[in-house]
């Protein structure tokens, strides 16, 4: 189910922007879904929620999804679908992060106990191999059974700057974390194509961005919730908000080309410009430092100087 509008021949996806008021995340999430005309499917059993738990930095840094926000989505899903649905919160081990510690450190174990949901380390889940292509590259990807068996998949990413040439971490990049292979940095030479390929084999139904605290160049309380059924549209909107030109983010363009969504969108709710103004965007110094670090890594200077 993709919530779309058409203007002439152009297909546009809906992306909502909602301000969290009085710390009420549930209300903000409800409003964000209402604005994109989203209705939870009925008669389903298995729901998967994928937060962003990239490392051991908790939600106060803006780099990982706030478990309280995930709890709000759980409450909403149970209220709208059925109190008896099975909910799994999924993440996989990464090059520098292990789920067994991240779930504990980031308060997801407590969330699982409080809300009676299951935590699944996808790196330990059974999986099936699926072949996919993206940007002319072929991939053999492991699709975890928990993902495969889900009736509804909800992506709950963060918006972050990341290394060149990817530049933006958001909805599409968060699904990269469903790849159970733990040595993820090995994909870095063709990261854009890998992200798109993984999204092709693991399509999520709904994307809800937790932007209560955003990382940017430094953390800031933005109190933002965004929602869309289109991961490309919500990433395009996010890139505009953080001051990146979506046309320069190659994997976004590739995702559109590969049919994952639209790079055009209709904003709903609060003005994008309001959040763009507030967002802690990269300044010139940060951009130069980022460039210098990339050069230092590429030339091997950073290793020589012990900066890595």
């Amino acid at each position: 189910m993709r919530n779309l509008q058409t203007i002439g021949r152009i297909i546009l996806s809906l992306v909502s922007f909602v301000q969290i008021k009085n710390s009420n995340m549930t209300k903000a999430t409800e409003d964000s879904l209402y604005l994109i005309n989203y209705e939870f499917p009925k008669n389903i059993q298995n729901v998967v929620i994928k937060p962003n738990l990239c490392y051991y930095w908790d939600f106060t840094t803006g780099q990982t999804t706030d478990p309280k926000f995930v709890a709000a989505i759980i409450d909403l899903a149970r209220a709208r679908i059925s109190p008896n649905i099975h909910i799994s919160i999924v993440e996989s081990d990464a090059s520098a992060m292990k789920c067994k510690y991240a779930f504990k450190i980031l308060n997801y174990e407590k969330l699982a106990n409080d809300c009676n949901v299951k935590l699944v380390n996808l790196s330990e889940d059974k999986n099936n191999i699926v072949e996919a292509t993206a940007g002319g590259q072929s991939f053999r990807l492991k699709v975890p059974q928990t993902i495969q068996n889900a009736d509804l998949k909800i992506n709950v990413p963060k918006i972050k700057y990341t290394m060149e040439p990817i530049r933006l971490t958001c909805a599409l990049k968060n699904i990269f974390g469903c790849n159970p292979y733990s040595q993820k940095f090995k994909y870095h030479s063709k990261l854009g194509e890998t992200i798109v390929a993984i999204n092709k084999v693991m399509k999520f139904d709904l994307n809800i961005i937790e932007g209560n605290i955003v990382s940017g160049i430094q953390p800031r309380k933005l109190g933002l919730v965004m929602a869309s059924t289109d991961p490309v549209a919500i990433d395009t909107a996010s890139s505009e908000m953080v001051g990146l030109n979506p046309k320069t983010i190659k994997y976004l363009q590739l995702a559109k080309k590969e049919g994952l969504g639209n790079t055009t969108f209709i904003p709903k709710g609060e003005p994008l410009e309001y959040f763009k103004f507030q967002y802690p965007k990269k300044n010139l110094q940060a951009k130069l430092m980022s460039k210098a670090y990339t050069i230092a890594v590429q030339t091997g200077l950073s290793k020589k100087l012990g900066l890595e």
Partner: protein, 328 residues
């Protein structure tokens, strides 16, 4: 005496820092390095270090080595230091000296028995900013220090590894209290306790409040209140919970107050300092402590901080773990 011939055991995070500093030491030469990982040994190979071992016992058997720098995880200190002492190698041992008082005593006993010099690595004791504070205290220009605050807040083992070009996991041993001997109190607290003991003498009593923000079975923050025998009261705050780095002391004396801190330089200064001097200002204390160790070997003087110093720190830390106060 000719140049001291050094062997470096362990090429992890701190081992690599010592490795770079060894290249710049006067009167010393790094002749051997060991690490379980052949990949880690590559930097030794690239720097022309002739003896490279994946087993430190082989390094200890080499007759070409006068002293070793032990930069291993804490649980490996005792066995390695005892074997080094038996092999008649002088020892520079990373802090904390060991996981427990028993282990620390074993290390000291082995070095005494074999007439070996032992130094425990506490770079704050050689950091120019904190050395100046010591001078001011000794001169009496601050008067009697009534209250001291010391804080060391950082990422601890959770440092920057995810953002590195080749991300590295936090080494598994950091998550195992049996291997570390504790959390941030033994890791960062040992630095501050050692520094304050250097300033004010022995601690008569200490109490602690431990924090568990990360829900792990070891503390990720600690606040200690310590009473020194000579009257100074110190509050010591340590933590692994922050992405930032904050290391600062504030002393309030009967004449005046004084603060000193240590913070990372910006990346450009770091690059320039590393290229010109071989080490950055941030690691100056680490370099000077190693030079001190080498100088002590050459002049046949006891290095400081000694093994006994490291043991005393552990005794205080153990006391702090025992004397916990609960505020909830």
């Amino acid at each position: 005496m000719e140049k001291i011939r050094l062997g470096l055991i362990g090429l992890g995070y701190i081992g690599k820092i010592h490795f770079r500093h060894c290249q710049k030491l006067a009167n010393a030469k790094l002749v051997a390095a060991s690490d379980l990982s052949k990949k880690a040994l590559k930097i030794a190979n690239d720097a022309g270090v002739k003896q490279k071992y994946t087993n430190y016992e082989q390094l200890l058997r080499s007759s070409d080595i006068d002293a070793v720098i032990i930069a291993l995880p804490t649980h490996l200190h005792t066995q390695c230091a005892k074997q080094a002492a038996e092999a008649k190698k002088h020892i520079f041992l990373e802090k904390p000296i060991a996981r427990s008082i028993t282990e620390a005593k074993e290390i000291i006993s082995a070095t005494r028995k074999n007439n070996i010099k032992l130094m425990v690595g506490y770079p704050l004791r050689f950091n120019p900013a904190f050395c100046k504070v010591k001078e001011r205290i000794d001169e009496g220009t601050l008067g009697e220090i009534e209250i001291a605050h010391a804080a060391y807040i950082s990422t601890g083992p959770f440092m920057h590894r995810a953002e590195a070009h080749t991300p590295l996991p936090v080494p598994e041993w950091w998550f195992n209290k049996k291997l570390t001997g504790g959390g941030t109190l033994i890791d960062l607290g040992s630095h501050l306790i050692n520094l304050l003991r250097w300033y004010f003498g022995e601690i008569a009593n200490i109490k602690s409040h431990l924090g568990y923000r990360f829900n792990l079975d070891f503390e990720d923050s600690a606040t200690c209140i310590a009473k020194f025998e000579h009257g100074t009261l110190a509050v010591i705050n340590v933590g692994w919970f922050s992405q930032g780095y904050h290391l600062k002391i504030d002393l309030h004396g009967s004449v005046r107050s004084l603060s000193a801190n240590h913070s990372p330089s910006n990346p450009i200064s770091t690059v320039i300092q590393t290229l010109t001097k071989g080490y950055s200002k941030f690691y100056e204390g680490h370099f000077i402590e190693l030079q001190h160790f080498v100088n002590c070997l050459i002049k046949d003087r006891p290095p400081s901080p000694s093994g006994e110093d490291g043991l005393k720190d552990l005794e205080i830390i153990e006391q702090a773990y025992k004397n916990q106060i609960r505020l909830d």
